[in-house]
Protein backbone atom coordinates (compact mmCIF):
# COMPACT_ATOMS: atom_id res chain seq x y z
CA UNK A 1 0.00 0.00 0.00
CA UNK A 2 1.79 3.06 -1.28
CA UNK A 3 -0.25 5.65 0.62
CA UNK A 4 0.46 3.81 3.85
CA UNK A 5 4.18 3.76 3.10
CA UNK A 6 4.11 7.49 2.46
CA UNK A 7 2.09 8.21 5.61
CA UNK A 8 4.41 6.05 7.73
CA UNK A 9 7.46 7.80 6.39
CA UNK A 10 6.01 11.20 7.20
CA UNK A 11 5.13 10.08 10.71
CA UNK A 12 8.63 8.73 11.23
CA UNK A 13 10.26 11.83 9.83
CA UNK A 14 8.07 14.18 11.80
CA UNK A 15 8.62 12.22 14.97
CA UNK A 16 12.36 12.82 14.68
CA UNK A 17 11.87 16.55 14.29
CA UNK A 18 11.00 17.18 17.92
CA UNK A 19 11.14 20.92 17.69
CA UNK A 20 8.60 21.18 14.92
CA UNK A 21 6.47 18.65 16.73
CA UNK A 22 6.67 20.80 19.83
CA UNK A 23 5.81 23.93 17.88
CA UNK A 24 2.66 22.34 16.60
CA UNK A 25 1.60 20.64 19.82
CA UNK A 26 2.72 22.99 22.57
CA UNK A 27 2.73 26.44 20.99
CA UNK A 28 -1.08 26.68 20.79
CA UNK A 29 -1.26 25.81 24.49
CA UNK A 30 1.26 28.47 25.41
CA UNK A 31 -0.46 31.11 23.35
CA UNK A 32 -3.88 30.20 24.73
CA UNK A 33 -2.53 30.37 28.27
CA UNK A 34 -1.08 33.76 27.50
CA UNK A 35 -4.41 34.94 26.14
CA UNK A 36 -6.10 33.67 29.26
CA UNK A 37 -3.64 35.49 31.49
CA UNK A 38 -4.21 38.65 29.49
CA UNK A 39 -7.98 38.41 29.37
CA UNK A 40 -8.79 36.57 32.50
CA UNK A 41 -10.56 38.33 35.29
CA UNK A 42 -10.10 35.95 38.18
CA UNK A 43 -7.03 37.64 39.54
CA UNK A 44 -8.24 41.21 39.34
CA UNK A 45 -9.55 42.57 42.61
CA UNK A 46 -12.26 44.99 41.53
CA UNK A 47 -12.34 48.30 43.38
CA UNK A 48 -15.87 48.87 44.51
CA UNK A 49 -17.23 51.90 46.27
CA UNK A 50 -20.18 51.26 48.57
CA UNK A 51 -22.37 54.27 49.33
CA UNK A 52 -25.42 54.30 51.55
CA UNK A 53 -25.75 50.55 51.62
CA UNK A 54 -25.81 48.21 54.61
CA UNK A 55 -22.39 47.37 56.06
CA UNK A 56 -23.16 43.70 55.46
CA UNK A 57 -22.98 44.43 51.75
CA UNK A 58 -19.57 46.06 52.04
CA UNK A 59 -18.27 43.25 54.21
CA UNK A 60 -19.49 40.49 51.89
CA UNK A 61 -18.01 42.24 48.88
CA UNK A 62 -14.68 42.51 50.64
CA UNK A 63 -14.85 38.86 51.56
CA UNK A 64 -15.46 37.86 47.94
CA UNK A 65 -12.24 39.59 46.96
CA UNK A 66 -13.11 43.19 46.16
CA UNK A 67 -11.25 46.25 47.36
CA UNK A 68 -14.08 48.03 49.10
CA UNK A 69 -14.27 51.72 49.99
CA UNK A 70 -17.27 52.95 51.98
CA UNK A 71 -18.69 56.36 51.13
CA UNK A 72 -21.22 58.43 52.96
CA UNK A 73 -22.70 60.03 49.93
CA UNK A 74 -23.18 58.69 46.44
CA UNK A 75 -21.92 61.82 44.69
CA UNK A 76 -18.45 61.44 46.23
CA UNK A 77 -18.29 57.83 45.13
CA UNK A 78 -19.35 58.79 41.63
CA UNK A 79 -16.59 61.38 41.46
CA UNK A 80 -14.03 58.73 42.34
CA UNK A 81 -15.55 56.44 39.76
CA UNK A 82 -15.15 59.19 37.20
CA UNK A 83 -11.51 59.64 38.24
CA UNK A 84 -10.88 55.90 37.71
CA UNK A 85 -10.23 55.39 41.42
CA UNK A 86 -13.04 52.86 41.41
CA UNK A 87 -14.34 50.22 39.02
CA UNK A 88 -17.89 50.35 40.28
CA UNK A 89 -20.15 52.00 42.79
CA UNK A 90 -22.82 50.09 44.68
CA UNK A 91 -25.63 52.09 46.17
CA UNK A 92 -29.09 51.35 47.46
CA UNK A 93 -32.01 52.70 45.51
CA UNK A 94 -35.56 52.05 46.72
CA UNK A 95 -34.29 48.99 48.58
CA UNK A 96 -32.65 47.52 45.46
CA UNK A 97 -28.94 47.61 44.93
CA UNK A 98 -27.92 49.83 42.07
CA UNK A 99 -24.54 49.12 40.50
CA UNK A 100 -22.78 51.66 38.35
CA UNK A 101 -19.89 50.28 36.37
CA UNK A 102 -17.06 52.41 35.08
CA UNK A 103 -17.48 50.44 31.87
CA UNK A 104 -14.42 51.20 29.77
CA UNK A 105 -12.59 48.01 30.58
CA UNK A 106 -14.48 44.83 29.79
CA UNK A 107 -12.09 42.89 31.96
CA UNK A 108 -12.89 44.99 34.99
CA UNK A 109 -16.59 45.00 34.24
CA UNK A 110 -16.56 41.27 34.26
CA UNK A 111 -14.58 41.16 37.48
CA UNK A 112 -17.07 43.44 39.18
CA UNK A 113 -20.03 41.44 37.96
CA UNK A 114 -18.50 38.19 39.06
CA UNK A 115 -17.74 39.47 42.55
CA UNK A 116 -21.14 41.04 42.79
CA UNK A 117 -22.97 37.88 41.80
CA UNK A 118 -21.01 35.88 44.34
CA UNK A 119 -21.68 38.43 47.04
CA UNK A 120 -25.40 38.44 46.27
CA UNK A 121 -25.53 34.69 46.60
CA UNK A 122 -23.91 34.92 50.01
CA UNK A 123 -26.12 37.78 51.14
CA UNK A 124 -29.39 36.22 50.05
CA UNK A 125 -28.86 32.49 50.33
CA UNK A 126 -31.51 30.32 48.75
CA UNK A 127 -34.29 32.87 48.91
CA UNK A 128 -35.62 35.24 46.33
CA UNK A 129 -32.65 37.05 44.76
CA UNK A 130 -32.78 40.78 44.52
CA UNK A 131 -31.79 41.71 40.99
CA UNK A 132 -29.43 44.65 41.12
CA UNK A 133 -30.00 47.51 38.74
CA UNK A 134 -26.99 47.78 36.45
CA UNK A 135 -25.84 51.03 34.93
CA UNK A 136 -22.76 52.00 33.03
CA UNK A 137 -20.73 55.13 33.26
CA UNK A 138 -19.19 54.38 29.88
CA UNK A 139 -20.35 51.80 27.36
CA UNK A 140 -22.65 48.97 28.18
CA UNK A 141 -20.70 45.87 27.34
CA UNK A 142 -20.64 43.02 29.70
CA UNK A 143 -19.25 39.62 29.01
CA UNK A 144 -16.50 37.31 30.12
CA UNK A 145 -13.84 38.02 27.56
CA UNK A 146 -11.92 34.82 27.71
CA UNK A 147 -15.04 32.71 27.49
CA UNK A 148 -16.10 34.63 24.45
CA UNK A 149 -12.82 34.92 22.58
CA UNK A 150 -11.48 31.65 23.88
CA UNK A 151 -14.10 29.70 22.00
CA UNK A 152 -12.92 31.18 18.75
CA UNK A 153 -9.22 31.24 19.59
CA UNK A 154 -9.12 27.50 20.25
CA UNK A 155 -10.00 26.91 16.61
CA UNK A 156 -7.78 29.69 15.36
CA UNK A 157 -4.57 28.63 17.08
CA UNK A 158 -5.08 25.02 16.09
CA UNK A 159 -5.53 26.23 12.53
CA UNK A 160 -2.58 28.58 12.58
CA UNK A 161 0.08 26.15 13.73
CA UNK A 162 -1.09 23.29 11.56
CA UNK A 163 -1.09 25.62 8.57
CA UNK A 164 2.51 26.68 9.13
CA UNK A 165 3.92 23.26 9.86
CA UNK A 166 2.05 21.52 7.04
CA UNK A 167 2.97 24.25 4.59
CA UNK A 168 6.65 24.25 5.42
CA UNK A 169 7.07 20.48 5.42
CA UNK A 170 5.31 19.99 2.11
CA UNK A 171 7.47 22.74 0.72
CA UNK A 172 10.58 21.04 2.01
CA UNK A 173 9.57 17.92 0.17
CA UNK A 174 9.74 20.01 -2.97
CA UNK A 175 12.88 22.06 -2.38
CA UNK A 176 14.88 19.03 -1.27
CA UNK A 177 14.08 17.34 -4.57
CA UNK A 178 12.39 14.44 -2.87
CA UNK A 179 9.02 15.36 -4.38
CA UNK A 180 10.58 15.00 -7.83
CA UNK A 181 12.04 11.71 -6.76
CA UNK A 182 8.67 10.56 -5.40
CA UNK A 183 7.10 11.42 -8.71
CA UNK A 184 9.64 9.20 -10.48
CA UNK A 185 7.97 6.24 -8.77
CA UNK A 186 4.58 4.79 -9.67
CA UNK A 187 2.91 6.97 -7.01
CA UNK A 188 -0.14 8.74 -8.37
CA UNK A 189 -0.48 12.42 -7.69
CA UNK A 190 -3.56 11.94 -5.54
CA UNK A 191 -1.70 9.26 -3.60
CA UNK A 192 1.00 11.79 -2.74
CA UNK A 193 -1.63 14.17 -1.36
CA UNK A 194 -3.53 11.40 0.42
CA UNK A 195 -0.35 10.04 2.00
CA UNK A 196 0.50 13.49 3.25
CA UNK A 197 -2.93 14.08 4.69
CA UNK A 198 -2.85 10.72 6.41
CA UNK A 199 0.65 11.02 7.86
CA UNK A 200 0.18 14.59 8.94
CA UNK A 201 -3.40 13.96 9.88
CA UNK A 202 -2.22 11.86 12.80
CA UNK A 203 -0.26 14.72 14.34
CA UNK A 204 -2.88 17.35 13.59
CA UNK A 205 -5.55 15.16 15.19
CA UNK A 206 -3.40 14.82 18.30
CA UNK A 207 -2.87 18.56 18.32
CA UNK A 208 -6.57 19.35 17.90
CA UNK A 209 -7.38 17.02 20.79
CA UNK A 210 -4.75 18.40 23.14
CA UNK A 211 -5.74 21.99 22.41
CA UNK A 212 -9.42 21.37 23.10
CA UNK A 213 -8.66 19.40 26.23
CA UNK A 214 -6.26 22.06 27.50
CA UNK A 215 -8.60 24.95 26.76
CA UNK A 216 -11.64 23.45 28.44
CA UNK A 217 -10.14 21.38 31.25
CA UNK A 218 -7.02 23.30 32.21
CA UNK A 219 -7.83 26.87 31.24
CA UNK A 220 -11.49 26.33 32.00
CA UNK A 221 -13.07 28.07 29.03
CA UNK A 222 -16.83 27.85 29.36
CA UNK A 223 -18.15 24.79 27.62
CA UNK A 224 -21.91 24.57 27.34
CA UNK A 225 -22.06 21.81 24.77
CA UNK A 226 -20.33 18.45 24.68
CA UNK A 227 -16.58 17.96 24.72
CA UNK A 228 -16.81 15.42 21.91
CA UNK A 229 -18.56 17.84 19.62
CA UNK A 230 -15.98 20.60 20.20
CA UNK A 231 -13.29 18.07 19.45
CA UNK A 232 -15.03 17.04 16.26
CA UNK A 233 -15.40 20.63 15.11
CA UNK A 234 -11.75 21.34 15.87
CA UNK A 235 -10.64 18.23 13.97
CA UNK A 236 -12.35 19.53 10.87
CA UNK A 237 -10.83 22.97 11.41
CA UNK A 238 -7.31 21.52 11.43
CA UNK A 239 -8.13 19.34 8.44
CA UNK A 240 -8.90 22.48 6.47
CA UNK A 241 -5.66 24.03 7.78
CA UNK A 242 -3.70 20.97 6.70
CA UNK A 243 -5.11 20.93 3.20
CA UNK A 244 -4.84 24.69 2.81
CA UNK A 245 -1.26 24.73 4.12
CA UNK A 246 -0.08 22.05 1.71
CA UNK A 247 -1.89 23.73 -1.16
CA UNK A 248 -0.36 27.12 -0.38
CA UNK A 249 3.12 25.65 -0.24
CA UNK A 250 2.73 24.78 -3.92
CA UNK A 251 2.86 28.51 -4.58
CA UNK A 252 5.89 29.22 -2.43
CA UNK A 253 9.51 28.71 -3.40
CA UNK A 254 11.02 28.81 0.07
CA UNK A 255 10.12 28.84 3.74
CA UNK A 256 10.04 32.59 3.84
CA UNK A 257 7.39 32.67 1.16
CA UNK A 258 5.26 30.27 3.18
CA UNK A 259 5.38 32.76 6.02
CA UNK A 260 4.30 35.48 3.62
CA UNK A 261 1.00 33.65 3.33
CA UNK A 262 0.30 34.27 7.00
CA UNK A 263 -0.75 37.92 6.62
CA UNK A 264 -2.48 37.08 3.35
CA UNK A 265 -4.34 33.92 4.23
CA UNK A 266 -4.30 33.40 7.98
CA UNK A 267 -4.63 36.85 9.54
CA UNK A 268 -7.77 37.83 7.58
CA UNK A 269 -9.47 34.75 8.96
CA UNK A 270 -9.07 36.14 12.47
CA UNK A 271 -11.29 39.07 11.61
CA UNK A 272 -13.99 36.82 10.32
CA UNK A 273 -14.06 34.27 13.05
CA UNK A 274 -15.98 36.17 15.67
CA UNK A 275 -13.47 38.74 16.82
CA UNK A 276 -15.48 41.45 15.10
CA UNK A 277 -19.22 41.30 14.67
CA UNK A 278 -19.90 40.51 11.02
CA UNK A 279 -23.07 42.60 11.04
CA UNK A 280 -21.04 45.74 11.44
CA UNK A 281 -19.08 45.11 8.24
CA UNK A 282 -20.00 46.22 4.74
CA UNK A 283 -21.76 43.53 2.79
CA UNK A 284 -18.96 42.77 0.35
CA UNK A 285 -16.63 42.21 3.28
CA UNK A 286 -19.10 39.79 4.82
CA UNK A 287 -18.99 37.85 1.57
CA UNK A 288 -15.22 37.59 1.91
CA UNK A 289 -15.74 36.12 5.34
CA UNK A 290 -17.99 33.44 3.93
CA UNK A 291 -15.17 32.33 1.63
CA UNK A 292 -12.86 31.50 4.54
CA UNK A 293 -12.94 28.12 6.25
CA UNK A 294 -12.24 29.46 9.69
CA UNK A 295 -15.44 31.51 9.60
CA UNK A 296 -17.43 28.29 9.63
CA UNK A 297 -15.12 26.60 12.08
CA UNK A 298 -15.31 29.43 14.59
CA UNK A 299 -19.06 29.69 14.13
CA UNK A 300 -19.46 26.04 15.04
CA UNK A 301 -17.04 26.30 17.97
CA UNK A 302 -18.84 29.30 19.44
CA UNK A 303 -22.22 27.69 18.99
CA UNK A 304 -21.11 24.60 20.88
CA UNK A 305 -19.06 26.27 23.58
CA UNK A 306 -21.17 29.34 24.30
CA UNK A 307 -24.67 28.21 23.41
CA UNK A 308 -24.48 24.47 23.89
CA UNK A 309 -25.36 23.70 20.30
CA UNK A 310 -25.83 20.07 19.29
CA UNK A 311 -24.76 18.18 16.19
CA UNK A 312 -27.81 19.32 14.26
CA UNK A 313 -26.85 22.97 14.74
CA UNK A 314 -23.28 22.63 13.50
CA UNK A 315 -23.68 19.93 10.82
CA UNK A 316 -23.95 22.54 8.07
CA UNK A 317 -20.78 24.31 9.19
CA UNK A 318 -18.88 21.04 9.41
CA UNK A 319 -20.09 20.12 5.94
CA UNK A 320 -18.72 23.40 4.58
CA UNK A 321 -15.38 22.71 6.28
CA UNK A 322 -15.25 19.26 4.71
CA UNK A 323 -16.08 20.83 1.37
CA UNK A 324 -13.24 23.32 1.70
CA UNK A 325 -10.79 20.56 2.67
CA UNK A 326 -11.80 18.41 -0.29
CA UNK A 327 -11.47 21.35 -2.65
CA UNK A 328 -8.02 22.26 -1.29
CA UNK A 329 -6.83 18.65 -1.58
CA UNK A 330 -8.12 18.38 -5.14
CA UNK A 331 -6.47 21.64 -6.13
CA UNK A 332 -3.26 20.32 -4.64
CA UNK A 333 -3.48 17.19 -6.80
CA UNK A 334 -3.85 19.51 -9.79
CA UNK A 335 -1.01 21.76 -8.63
CA UNK A 336 1.29 18.72 -8.61
CA UNK A 337 0.88 18.57 -12.39
CA UNK A 338 3.52 21.25 -12.46
CA UNK A 339 5.99 18.60 -11.30
CA UNK A 340 4.79 15.67 -13.35
CA UNK A 341 2.46 15.78 -16.28
CA UNK A 342 0.62 12.57 -15.36
Amino acid sequence: MRIRALALRIIRQFWKDKRTLALMLVAPLLVLTLVKLVLDVDDIAPRIGVAGAPTAMAETLAETGAEVTVYDDVAAAMRDLEDLELDAVVALENGRPRVTLEGSSPTRNAAVMRTLQQAMRTLVPGGRTVEPVIAYLHGSENRDLFDFYGSMLVGFFSFFFVFIVAGVSFLRERTSGTLQRLLATPLRRWEVVAGYLLGFGLFTAIQATIVVWFATRVLGIALEGSFGLVLLANLFIVLSALTLGTLMSAFANNEFQVFQFIPLVVVPQVFFCGLIDLETMPEWLQTVGHALPLYYGAKAMQAIMLRGAGWGDIAADVAVLVGFSLAFALLNVLALRKHRAI
Binding site: R2, A5, L6, L8, R9, R12, Q13, K16, D17, S176, G177, T178, Q180, R181, L182, L183, A184, T185, P186, L187, R188, H339, R340, A341, I342
Partner: protein, 253 residues
Protein backbone atom coordinates in the same frame (compact mmCIF):
# COMPACT_ATOMS: atom_id res chain seq x y z
CA UNK B 1 23.80 20.86 -36.52
CA UNK B 2 26.44 18.87 -38.37
CA UNK B 3 25.60 15.60 -40.03
CA UNK B 4 26.42 12.52 -37.95
CA UNK B 5 30.16 12.07 -38.09
CA UNK B 6 29.94 8.40 -38.89
CA UNK B 7 27.34 5.90 -39.86
CA UNK B 8 25.84 3.61 -37.30
CA UNK B 9 23.37 1.26 -38.81
CA UNK B 10 20.15 2.03 -36.99
CA UNK B 11 19.22 -0.99 -34.91
CA UNK B 12 16.04 -2.95 -35.57
CA UNK B 13 13.05 -1.75 -33.62
CA UNK B 14 12.59 -4.70 -31.31
CA UNK B 15 16.11 -4.18 -30.11
CA UNK B 16 15.47 -0.65 -28.92
CA UNK B 17 14.89 0.27 -25.31
CA UNK B 18 14.77 4.06 -25.41
CA UNK B 19 13.72 5.86 -28.54
CA UNK B 20 13.74 9.63 -28.78
CA UNK B 21 12.35 11.08 -31.99
CA UNK B 22 12.72 14.71 -33.04
CA UNK B 23 12.23 15.93 -29.50
CA UNK B 24 12.23 19.65 -28.82
CA UNK B 25 11.96 21.16 -25.37
CA UNK B 26 11.55 24.86 -24.85
CA UNK B 27 11.61 26.65 -21.49
CA UNK B 28 10.02 30.03 -21.98
CA UNK B 29 11.90 31.40 -24.97
CA UNK B 30 14.96 29.26 -24.48
CA UNK B 31 15.22 26.22 -26.74
CA UNK B 32 17.03 23.71 -24.55
CA UNK B 33 16.69 20.68 -26.81
CA UNK B 34 16.08 20.89 -30.54
CA UNK B 35 15.12 17.99 -32.75
CA UNK B 36 16.93 15.38 -30.74
CA UNK B 37 16.97 11.83 -32.07
CA UNK B 38 18.36 9.02 -30.03
CA UNK B 39 18.06 5.26 -29.91
CA UNK B 40 19.40 3.25 -26.98
CA UNK B 41 19.54 -0.51 -27.41
CA UNK B 42 18.36 -3.02 -24.90
CA UNK B 43 21.05 -3.98 -22.43
CA UNK B 44 23.66 -1.47 -23.46
CA UNK B 45 25.38 1.15 -21.39
CA UNK B 46 24.73 4.40 -23.16
CA UNK B 47 26.48 7.60 -22.20
CA UNK B 48 25.32 11.17 -22.65
CA UNK B 49 28.36 13.39 -22.73
CA UNK B 50 28.22 17.13 -22.82
CA UNK B 51 29.28 20.33 -21.14
CA UNK B 52 27.36 21.92 -18.33
CA UNK B 53 24.07 23.38 -19.52
CA UNK B 54 24.01 21.27 -22.68
CA UNK B 55 20.62 19.80 -21.83
CA UNK B 56 21.58 16.36 -20.47
CA UNK B 57 19.38 16.55 -17.40
CA UNK B 58 16.51 17.95 -19.45
CA UNK B 59 16.73 15.04 -21.88
CA UNK B 60 17.00 12.46 -19.14
CA UNK B 61 13.94 13.84 -17.35
CA UNK B 62 11.97 13.69 -20.56
CA UNK B 63 13.00 10.08 -21.05
CA UNK B 64 11.82 9.19 -17.54
CA UNK B 65 8.46 10.81 -18.13
CA UNK B 66 8.97 13.52 -15.53
CA UNK B 67 8.57 16.23 -18.14
CA UNK B 68 6.82 16.58 -21.48
CA UNK B 69 8.50 17.53 -24.77
CA UNK B 70 7.05 20.43 -26.73
CA UNK B 71 7.44 18.39 -29.89
CA UNK B 72 8.48 14.87 -30.72
CA UNK B 73 7.95 11.46 -29.22
CA UNK B 74 9.68 9.35 -26.62
CA UNK B 75 9.18 5.63 -26.24
CA UNK B 76 10.50 3.42 -23.53
CA UNK B 77 10.44 -0.33 -24.17
CA UNK B 78 8.05 0.43 -27.00
CA UNK B 79 5.60 2.37 -24.79
CA UNK B 80 4.99 6.06 -25.48
CA UNK B 81 5.98 8.15 -22.47
CA UNK B 82 4.92 9.40 -20.05
CA UNK B 83 3.07 6.43 -18.60
CA UNK B 84 2.47 5.86 -14.92
CA UNK B 85 3.06 2.11 -15.00
CA UNK B 86 6.46 2.66 -16.62
CA UNK B 87 7.82 4.36 -13.50
CA UNK B 88 8.06 0.97 -11.84
CA UNK B 89 10.40 -0.25 -14.60
CA UNK B 90 12.76 2.71 -14.45
CA UNK B 91 15.39 3.33 -11.81
CA UNK B 92 16.10 7.05 -11.76
CA UNK B 93 18.94 8.77 -9.98
CA UNK B 94 18.64 12.52 -10.08
CA UNK B 95 21.62 14.81 -10.40
CA UNK B 96 21.08 16.24 -6.94
CA UNK B 97 20.49 13.84 -4.09
CA UNK B 98 16.87 13.61 -3.09
CA UNK B 99 16.99 12.03 0.34
CA UNK B 100 15.14 12.43 3.62
CA UNK B 101 17.89 13.80 5.82
CA UNK B 102 16.17 13.10 9.13
CA UNK B 103 15.77 9.44 8.30
CA UNK B 104 18.45 6.78 8.31
CA UNK B 105 19.74 5.27 5.08
CA UNK B 106 17.82 2.10 5.82
CA UNK B 107 14.60 4.04 6.35
CA UNK B 108 15.13 5.91 3.08
CA UNK B 109 15.70 2.67 1.19
CA UNK B 110 12.77 0.94 2.84
CA UNK B 111 10.48 3.84 2.05
CA UNK B 112 11.30 4.03 -1.64
CA UNK B 113 11.23 0.25 -1.98
CA UNK B 114 7.77 0.11 -0.43
CA UNK B 115 6.53 2.56 -3.05
CA UNK B 116 7.39 -0.17 -5.55
CA UNK B 117 5.52 -2.70 -3.45
CA UNK B 118 8.57 -4.42 -1.96
CA UNK B 119 8.46 -5.69 1.59
CA UNK B 120 9.46 -8.32 4.10
CA UNK B 121 12.45 -10.62 3.94
CA UNK B 122 13.08 -10.05 0.24
CA UNK B 123 13.39 -6.33 0.87
CA UNK B 124 15.76 -6.90 3.80
CA UNK B 125 17.98 -9.08 1.64
CA UNK B 126 17.92 -6.54 -1.17
CA UNK B 127 18.93 -3.72 1.16
CA UNK B 128 21.73 -5.81 2.67
CA UNK B 129 22.99 -6.67 -0.83
CA UNK B 130 22.97 -3.07 -1.99
CA UNK B 131 24.66 -1.87 1.20
CA UNK B 132 27.40 -4.41 0.61
CA UNK B 133 27.79 -3.39 -3.02
CA UNK B 134 27.94 0.34 -2.30
CA UNK B 135 29.89 -0.04 0.94
CA UNK B 136 27.21 1.46 3.11
CA UNK B 137 26.77 -1.53 5.37
CA UNK B 138 28.22 0.05 8.49
CA UNK B 139 26.35 3.30 8.00
CA UNK B 140 22.90 2.00 7.18
CA UNK B 141 21.47 3.06 10.51
CA UNK B 142 22.96 6.54 10.50
CA UNK B 143 20.67 9.45 9.72
CA UNK B 144 21.45 10.79 6.27
CA UNK B 145 22.34 14.27 7.50
CA UNK B 146 25.47 12.69 8.95
CA UNK B 147 26.48 11.36 5.54
CA UNK B 148 29.28 12.74 3.39
CA UNK B 149 28.55 13.87 -0.17
CA UNK B 150 29.86 10.65 -1.69
CA UNK B 151 27.88 8.53 0.74
CA UNK B 152 24.70 10.38 -0.22
CA UNK B 153 25.49 9.76 -3.87
CA UNK B 154 25.89 6.04 -3.18
CA UNK B 155 22.64 5.94 -1.25
CA UNK B 156 20.86 7.67 -4.15
CA UNK B 157 22.27 5.01 -6.45
CA UNK B 158 21.10 2.27 -4.10
CA UNK B 159 17.59 3.77 -4.18
CA UNK B 160 17.65 3.79 -7.99
CA UNK B 161 18.62 0.12 -7.97
CA UNK B 162 16.42 -1.11 -5.14
CA UNK B 163 13.47 -2.37 -7.19
CA UNK B 164 15.67 -4.05 -9.80
CA UNK B 165 14.49 -1.90 -12.72
CA UNK B 166 14.86 -2.89 -16.37
CA UNK B 167 16.06 0.58 -17.31
CA UNK B 168 18.51 2.59 -15.24
CA UNK B 169 18.71 6.32 -15.79
CA UNK B 170 21.59 7.83 -13.87
CA UNK B 171 22.29 11.55 -13.94
CA UNK B 172 25.98 12.00 -13.12
CA UNK B 173 26.05 9.07 -10.72
CA UNK B 174 29.72 9.12 -9.79
CA UNK B 175 30.25 12.76 -8.86
CA UNK B 176 32.06 12.90 -5.54
CA UNK B 177 32.83 9.20 -5.44
CA UNK B 178 36.44 8.08 -5.08
CA UNK B 179 38.15 6.29 -8.02
CA UNK B 180 38.21 2.90 -6.36
CA UNK B 181 34.51 2.90 -5.59
CA UNK B 182 33.78 4.42 -8.97
CA UNK B 183 35.47 1.46 -10.60
CA UNK B 184 33.38 -0.96 -8.61
CA UNK B 185 30.20 0.92 -9.48
CA UNK B 186 31.10 0.60 -13.16
CA UNK B 187 31.72 -3.09 -12.65
CA UNK B 188 28.22 -3.38 -11.25
CA UNK B 189 26.76 -1.46 -14.18
CA UNK B 190 28.54 -3.92 -16.47
CA UNK B 191 27.07 -6.85 -14.58
CA UNK B 192 23.58 -5.33 -14.80
CA UNK B 193 23.99 -4.66 -18.49
CA UNK B 194 25.10 -8.26 -19.03
CA UNK B 195 21.84 -9.32 -17.39
CA UNK B 196 19.90 -7.22 -19.89
CA UNK B 197 19.43 -4.01 -17.94
CA UNK B 198 19.70 -0.92 -20.11
CA UNK B 199 21.78 1.84 -18.55
CA UNK B 200 21.61 5.48 -19.58
CA UNK B 201 24.20 7.57 -17.83
CA UNK B 202 25.11 11.24 -18.14
CA UNK B 203 28.60 12.48 -17.48
CA UNK B 204 31.09 15.14 -18.38
CA UNK B 205 34.04 13.02 -17.31
CA UNK B 206 35.85 11.73 -20.38
CA UNK B 207 37.34 8.58 -18.91
CA UNK B 208 33.88 7.51 -17.84
CA UNK B 209 32.55 8.12 -21.31
CA UNK B 210 35.10 5.63 -22.62
CA UNK B 211 33.56 2.90 -20.53
CA UNK B 212 30.19 3.19 -22.27
CA UNK B 213 29.14 0.85 -25.06
CA UNK B 214 27.99 3.79 -27.07
CA UNK B 215 27.62 7.42 -26.37
CA UNK B 216 26.09 10.58 -27.69
CA UNK B 217 27.76 13.94 -27.50
CA UNK B 218 25.33 16.68 -26.74
CA UNK B 219 25.98 20.35 -27.07
CA UNK B 220 23.78 23.42 -27.28
CA UNK B 221 20.66 21.30 -27.27
CA UNK B 222 21.58 18.96 -30.09
CA UNK B 223 23.31 15.62 -30.56
CA UNK B 224 26.54 16.40 -32.33
CA UNK B 225 27.87 12.85 -32.59
CA UNK B 226 26.85 9.37 -31.66
CA UNK B 227 28.66 6.03 -31.71
CA UNK B 228 31.05 3.79 -29.82
CA UNK B 229 33.96 5.53 -28.13
CA UNK B 230 36.35 4.08 -30.69
CA UNK B 231 34.22 5.15 -33.62
CA UNK B 232 34.06 8.68 -32.29
CA UNK B 233 37.78 8.89 -31.68
CA UNK B 234 38.53 7.52 -35.11
CA UNK B 235 36.13 9.83 -36.86
CA UNK B 236 37.72 12.78 -35.10
CA UNK B 237 41.15 11.51 -36.02
CA UNK B 238 42.36 11.85 -32.45
CA UNK B 239 43.62 9.64 -29.69
CA UNK B 240 41.43 10.71 -26.76
CA UNK B 241 37.79 11.38 -26.06
CA UNK B 242 38.72 14.93 -25.21
CA UNK B 243 40.04 15.54 -28.68
CA UNK B 244 37.00 13.92 -30.20
CA UNK B 245 34.72 16.07 -28.10
CA UNK B 246 36.51 19.26 -29.05
CA UNK B 247 36.53 18.18 -32.68
CA UNK B 248 32.77 17.63 -32.87
CA UNK B 249 32.04 20.62 -30.71
CA UNK B 250 34.06 22.80 -33.05
CA UNK B 251 32.38 21.33 -36.08
CA UNK B 252 29.00 22.11 -34.62
CA UNK B 253 29.55 25.77 -33.98
Amino acid sequence: MSAPAHTTVSPPDHDICISVRSVTRVFGKRVVLENVDLAVRLGEIFGLLGPSGAGKTTLVRLICGLDLPNRGEIRLLGVPMPRLDMFGRIGYMAQSDALYNELTARENLTFFASLYGMRGAALKRRIAGLAELLRLRDDLNKPVHQYSGGMKRRLSLAIALVHEPEVLVLDEPTVGIDPELRASIWEELRRLSARGVTVLVTTHVMDEAEKCDRLAMIRNGGIIACGTPDELKRAAGGQSMEEAFLHFGGAAS
